[in-house]
């Protein structure tokens, strides 16, 4: 029952959302005296302030026995306690003896922040009977009623049209010429613009809130319009195209012009006050009249006025009039006005904006700053008072208030914490702050994004207590304590160890970490004191049991305390650390903290990892090593070529961390890091390593342990991705593919491979083969030329394969990065090369059928297979073409020599030599090249032709296309084809010369006296003809 009561008291009385709605008993029971209020005289702040306590402020400024005119501004940021101070001053005045406050001579008016709108302000003025003029009163009542009943849409439209009217009627020319003002009015009247301005959350809706709706949000009233209301390209373009001419003209001036839009926004905001008054149907004169009349009436009654305005923001539209009337000093020309002491709460922003209105009128400023409330003492005192009021019986508290709320008599609760616990002194009495301790109060306050008493109350005390009470009421599903700012334990290894306690739920692990981070000393170390008390991280074990964490047994061994603590102080929770003077934080430390926060946010709050590029480079250094240092995996020693490790792991894109900010393709990742405790610890370890520039830091052994465990848990999968092979399976035959490519390339280019022995062969296979476009390399088939072109077109791919072959079989000493250094000399793993060479020889260099069916694109280790897959079919085509061409050439040579054998060849070659002799004898000039070629001994030429025939026949018999290609590579076909071309050429010459001879014979037959000569010539020609016949020239068809 009592937990329900505590919760109810807290929510209904002690910590309400709006502290001004708090009933007096709780307000007084929880009031925290301000001790450091900066008080300035006048409206400026150039001179140094005097520091007053709230009592001094009251006695010196609020008490006003001399009836001085005072306009006191209470300034501060949102939530700093302005309202609280004003309410306290008001309550103090009300409860003062008649010598200080006499209701018969002093009219006290208090305008609260509730219903923070013009309507709210007027309602309070009516309620407190401030408005004496019946006509004005009637008018205001009408406005209040109408804003209650009026349709919101209609009200919004009224507001918009009020702005349009104000702009349309602006003849001042201050910002825009009147003609432009009419254009603007026209633009604002465009249906598209209107709809946008009337949207929910838009400018007009904001203005509506100012006028009618209660709002806790403090609005800078001049900022009804913002740039977003007009900076909408689509709308501007539509108005330019389809709007009426005036609207279109104006739209053109603001299109893409941010400055013009800003100018328009500022211009429209100037009309807000006028629009508010117009919509509320209250004129400046009537507003002024309300307060003037009040002062006159009070004067007549012999009374003065003390006016407390909690929040001036609600007076939008009538603010300047109110200031004018409140700042008018009584006496002299204004002898009919009563004295007024006004205490006005106002935010710093608002004050700065209307400084001109205030500066010369304000008599005093009280500045509420964080100096007034930010100290540890203040916070624990404040928490103590609120917690006390929650644990107290409401009736007892009310009775105390009724009896004058004497601070020394403040009732103290009877709540008993489960163990000894921190207390605070309120006056002369002590009260518990359970379930908070002093450390947690300061830590939770410091973790607030906006540090103010209001935020501390709402976000710390109320939010945490609600969870504590709910936990006690419902018994399970504990959420206390919460750690919204994700404050981390200072002892990271302990935090990590908690994350590894699988017997606890994730929620309980978070709660434990929150306790140690916010309540404790940042660690989870356990200690057993001499009296048997067990503490974890400095917190009594009973506290853990009280909030459902009794299963927690601490991290590491429980230390046994042997020494006796003086004065029993050790039984108390640790005092909050005294704030140290701010240290200068260097860039490295900032980065270290930045990374740590990022990693913890990623792990605990599922935030995306912001600095993943840095973490991925750390992982690269760990796994691959740096330029001159080896990594944690000794790649080359475990059988993975250093070159492959270096090439595969060099690009940061292959490192992927779950939920990293950098968009990367996870499927291409080689090193994957999931979001887990182990990964978090590994990243933290690398952060520590980076920061300490080595392993010499506290907790290094722990982080090493976690890092190595992460690495070992991922090692096999990293290796598998680096090598594209299963750890226990066969490795990808990358070197085999590279060697085959080199072999085929050499063959295609007609380059020689030294086959003396295996070492020579391996050595020549590692050469950089280039194609020499010379006579020797002229190919007889288009297919072969195409294949040469194919290889030349893929130069970079073939070059990569050669580099991969050469670099990956070289041994590497130290960092794998050295493997890419072409200058480093290193012996070769020839054992591996030899095995591959033997295998390739066995399979006649034909591994087409062994190539993988599915080959990933652009993959360092698969590129060679992909190339081979394209190359092998072309090789087959070439071989086929060469075979056919060989047959054709052979067959044509047979047409000249008959069956190709030594005897026939010698006969033919001898005949050729004879023919060239006849030509020479008869002065016939044939081809010198051919004649020279056939001057050699016919037997040599015959043997050469026979050798070529033998090579081609051998090629035909090879078992694989690769071997056939190798046989054809020597270009025997070309040599043979050359002979064929020679024979054809010689035959053509002989035919030509025969025809010439016949013609010459005919001529000679008609001339006398040359018979002898003719005889000899005829004989020669006859021989020649016979030779030609023998060569079956007549059958040759070109």
């Amino acid at each position: 029952m009592r937990w329900e009561q505590y919760k109810s008291v807290m929510e209904r009385y002690a910590i309400k959302t709006d502290d001004m709605a708090t009933e007096d008993a709780y307000f007084m029971a929880t009031h925290m005296p301000f001790s450091q209020l900066a008080v300035y005289e006048g409206g400026r702040t150039q001179s140094a302030p005097k520091m007053f306590s709230e009592e001094e402020v009251f006695s010196r400024l609020i008490c006003n026995p001399e009836n001085d005119h005072r306009m006191i501004i209470v300034r501060g940021d949102n939530g700093t306690g302005k309202s609280h101070l004003i309410r306290f001053l008001k309550a103090k005045l009300e409860n003062s003896p008649a010598t200080v406050y006499n209701p018969a001579t002093e009219q006290l008016i208090f305008l609260r922040r509730l219903n923070n709108s013009v309507r709210g302000v007027f309602s309070q003025l009516i309620e407190q009977d401030v408005i004496k003029d019946p006509a004005v009163s009637q008018k205001i009542k009408k406005f209040i009623d109408s804003s209650d009943s009026k349709d919101e849409a209609a009200f919004l439209t009224d507001i918009l049209y009020s702005y349009i009217a104000a702009v349309s009627n602006d003849q001042t020319g201050d910002t825009y010429k009147p003609v432009i003002c009419r254009d603007i009015a026209s633009y604002l009247s465009d249906s598209r613009v209107k709809d946008h301005l009337l949207r929910e959350g838009g400018a007009i809706s904001r203005c509506y809130t100012v006028i009618t709706a209660p709002s806790n949000q403090v609005l800078k009233t001049t900022e009804v319009f913002t740039d977003e209301d007009f900076d909408v390209r689509k709308i501007i373009t539509a108005v330019i195209k389809q709007g009426d001419p005036q609207a279109s003209d104006f739209a053109s001036t603001i299109k893409g012009e941010k400055d013009e839009i800003h100018k328009l926004v500022n211009y429209l905001n100037r009309f807000t006050s006028e629009v508010v008054k117009r919509c509320a149907d209250i004129s400046s004169e009537s507003t002024k009249a309300v307060f003037e009349q009040l002062r006159k009436d009070l004067k007549k009654q012999g009374k003065n006025l003390t006016l407390f305005i909690e929040d001036f923001t609600g007076f939008t539209g009538i603010d300047s009039e109110l200031i004018t009337v409140l700042s008018t000093e009584h006496g002299g020309d204004y002898a009919d006005l009563c004295r007024v002491t006004s205490i006005i709460g106002i935010t710093n922003d608002y004050y700065d904006q209307f400084r001109d209105n205030f500066t010369d009128r304000v008599t005093h400023q009280i500045s509420v700053t964080d100096d007034s409330f930010g100290t540890a003492d203040f916070l624990t005192q404040m928490a103590g008072r609120y917690i006390n009021s929650i644990y107290c019986d409401p009736e007892i508290l009310r009775a105390w208030n009724t009896q004058g709320a004497n601070f020394e008599d403040l009732p103290i609760n009877t709540f008993t914490p489960p163990c000894e616990w921190d207390t605070v002194k309120i006056g002369s009495k002590e009260t518990t702050i359970y379930p908070f301790n002093k450390t947690s109060i300061v830590a939770l306050y410091e973790s607030l994004p906006v540090k103010s008493p209001r935020m501390f109350l709402k976000e710390v005390l109320r939010a945490q207590l609600k969870e504590y009470f709910d936990g006690k009421i419902y018994g399970d599903g504990w959420y206390f304590p919460m750690n919204p700012a994700n404050v981390q334990m200072s002892r990271d290894p302990h935090s990590s160890a908690i994350d590894r306690i699988e017997s606890l739920s994730l929620e309980d692990r978070s709660r434990l970490k929150a306790i140690f981070a916010l309540w404790g000393d940042g660690s989870a170390s356990g200690i057993k004191e001499k009296d048997g008390t067990i503490r974890f991280g400095g917190i009594n074990k009973k506290f853990f049991s009280d909030i459902g964490l009794d299963a927690f047994e601490g991290i590491g061994d429980l230390k046994i305390e042997t020494s006796t603590s003086a004065g029993g102080q050790s039984t108390k929770a640790k005092e909050p650390p005294k704030p140290e003077p701010p240290k200068r934080v260097d860039e490295a430390t900032k980065s270290y903290q930045k990374y740590k926060d990022d990693i913890n946010g990623w792990f605990t709050k599922n935030d995306p990892l912001k600095f993943d590029a840095d973490y991925r480079s750390w992982l690269r250094d760990l796994i691959k090593g740096a330029a001159t240092q080896g990594g944690a995996i000794n790649w080359q020693d475990i059988g993975i070529p250093a070159y492959i490790a270096e090439e595969r792991l060099a690009d940061l894109g292959v490192y992927f961390i779950t939920d990293q900010s950098t968009p990367l393709n996870e499927e291409k990742a080689i090193v994957l890091m999931d979001r887990s405790t182990l990964s978090r610890d590994a990243l933290l370890a690398l952060n520590e390593l980076k920061y300490a520039k080595g392993w010499d830091f506290e907790g290094a052994a722990y982080y090493q342990q976690r890092l190595v465990t992460w690495l070992e848990s991922e090692k096999d999968s990293i290796i598998e991705r680096v090598t594209a092979s299963k750890v226990d399976g066969p490795t990808l035959p990358v070197i085999e593919w590279c060697m085959t490519l080199q072999y085929l390339k050499a063959r295609i280019f007609g380059c020689k491979l030294d086959n003396t022995d295996n070492y020579s062969m391996l050595h020549s296979l590692m050469s950089d083969f280039t194609f020499k476009d010379d006579e020797k390399n002229k190919r007889e088939t288009k297919e072969w030329n195409d294949l040469i072109q194919f290889v030349q077109n893929r130069k970079s791919e073939f070059d990569s394969a050669r580099t991969l072959l050469c670099r990956s079989v070289a041994t590497t000493q130290g960092a794998v990065h050295y493997a890419v250094d072409t200058k480093s000399a290193s012996c070769i793993r020839t054992d591996e090369l030899l095995s591959i060479l033997e295998k390739l020889k066995d399979c006649k260099w034909d591994i087409e059928s062994e190539l993988p069916a599915n080959i990933p694109e652009k993959h360092l280790l698969y590129n060679q297979a992909a190339l081979l897959k394209k190359l092998y079919p072309s090789v087959s085509k070439v071989v086929l073409a060469e075979q056919e061409k060989s047959k054709e050439v052979t067959s044509k040579i047979e047409e000249y020599v008959g069956s190709i054998n030594e005897e026939n060849l010698l006969q033919t070659l001898n005949s050729i030599q004879t023919l060239f002799s006849v030509f020479a004898a008869n002065g016939i000039i044939g081809s010198n090249d051919i004649r020279t070629k056939y001057e050699a001994a016919p037997i040599d030429t015959a043997k050469r032709i026979l050798k070529c025939i033998e090579v081609l026949e051998k090629a035909d018999k090879q078992e694989s296309n690769a071997r056939k290609l190798a046989a054809y590579s020597g270009n025997a076909l070309h040599i043979l084809a050359d002979y064929l071309r020679d024979f054809q050429s010689i035959a053509r010459m002989a035919e030509k010369e025969e025809a010439t001879a016949k013609k010459e014979l005919a001529k000679i037959g008609g001339i006398d006296g040359i018979d002898e000569l003719s005889e000899a010539a005829l004989e020669t020609m006859k021989n020649l003809y016979e030779f030609v016949e023998a060569m079956e020239v007549s059958n040759v068809t070109e």
């Binding site: 160890a497 760990l622 520039k693 080595g694 000399a825 290193s826 070769i828 020839t830 054992d831």
Partner: protein, 266 residues
């Protein structure tokens, strides 16, 4: 690398090179000269030849994996020993590492005994210097010797290279021993007393002083194997406990029983 002290522990004969030498000889017996020609493919550069000569010396004189017969180098062990880097490593771990008079052993033992004290030593030179001043037998220990040692130390599983340091963690070394000889004495998947385990394994790892609290490198190795599920460390009530090197935050700082999973032998 594994010579009787003193040994310069040169860097050139890396595990990769020594294994390659052994494997080449396994394919075909050959002379030194042939081997040099083979491993340089006839290029015979000074640097490469030096690498090969030193690697031959390690394989021949220190590891005894190859031997000379009629001026020919030939394999002296079962070819399975060099079938994979893991086999090669485990063979060395169960043979040469048992020798206590090598510089490698002395230096390894010193590093392991230093625990966290090696963390502030940021260079191998400092490490060699300090070791030289602390271990009389290693008074002439050089930076180069330490640099050479690190390749084999990381290969044989004494730790993980990290920048200019080694992270002491004997996960691989312990795993190798458990994979090869554990079953000779105990059964896999059965909890055995920590004291029995330590008595047994101390004979397999003379480089680790197991007489008191276990050193960091060995403890870290056990912890990693435990976290990977390859062994299970437990503390049973009323049983004698073996204390691991205490690491703040680590859930396991002692154990009374250990279960070695069969998976470790894979």
């Amino acid at each position: 690398m594994f010579k009787t002290n003193p040994d310069g522990m040169r860097m050139e004969p890396t595990p990769e090179r020594v294994l390659s030498v052994c494997r080449l000889i396994a394919q075909k017996s050959m002379t030194h000269e042939e081997l040099r020609r083979a491993m340089t493919l006839g290029q015979n550069g000074d640097k490469e030849v030096d690498q090969i000569n030193k690697s031959i010396a390690v394989a021949l004189e220190e590891l005894n994996i190859v031997k000379t017969k009629d001026n020919q180098l030939e394999l002296a062990v079962d070819s399975q020993v060099i079938a994979s880097p893991v086999n090669f490593r485990r063979y060395i771990g169960n043979t040469v590492l048992l020798k206590k008079d090598t510089t490698f052993h002395l230096f390894t033992k010193w590093i392991i005994s230093k625990n966290e004290d090696i963390f502030p030593l940021k260079t191998w030179e400092t490490m060699a210097k300090i070791c030289g001043s602390e271990v009389p037998e290693l008074s002439s220990m050089s930076e180069n010797a330490a640099l050479g040692w690190r390749f084999w130390a990381s290969f044989l599983g004494f730790g993980y290279l990290s920048g200019t340091m080694i992270i002491p963690n004997m996960k691989i070394r312990i795993e190798d021993v458990l994979a090869t000889t554990f079953a000779d004495k105990f059964n896999y998947d059965e909890a055995i007393r920590a004291t029995d385990f330590i008595t047994w394994i101390s004979t397999k790892m003379p480089e680790v002083d197991m007489s008191g609290k276990l050193p960091l490198a060995f403890s870290a190795g056990l912890r990693t194997l435990h976290e990977l599920g390859l062994i299970k460390l437990e503390t049973w009530r009323d049983s004698n406990r073996i204390f691991l090197y205490s690491v703040d935050g680590d859930p396991i700082n002692d154990f009374s029983h250990i279960t070695v999973r069969k998976e470790v032998a894979k």
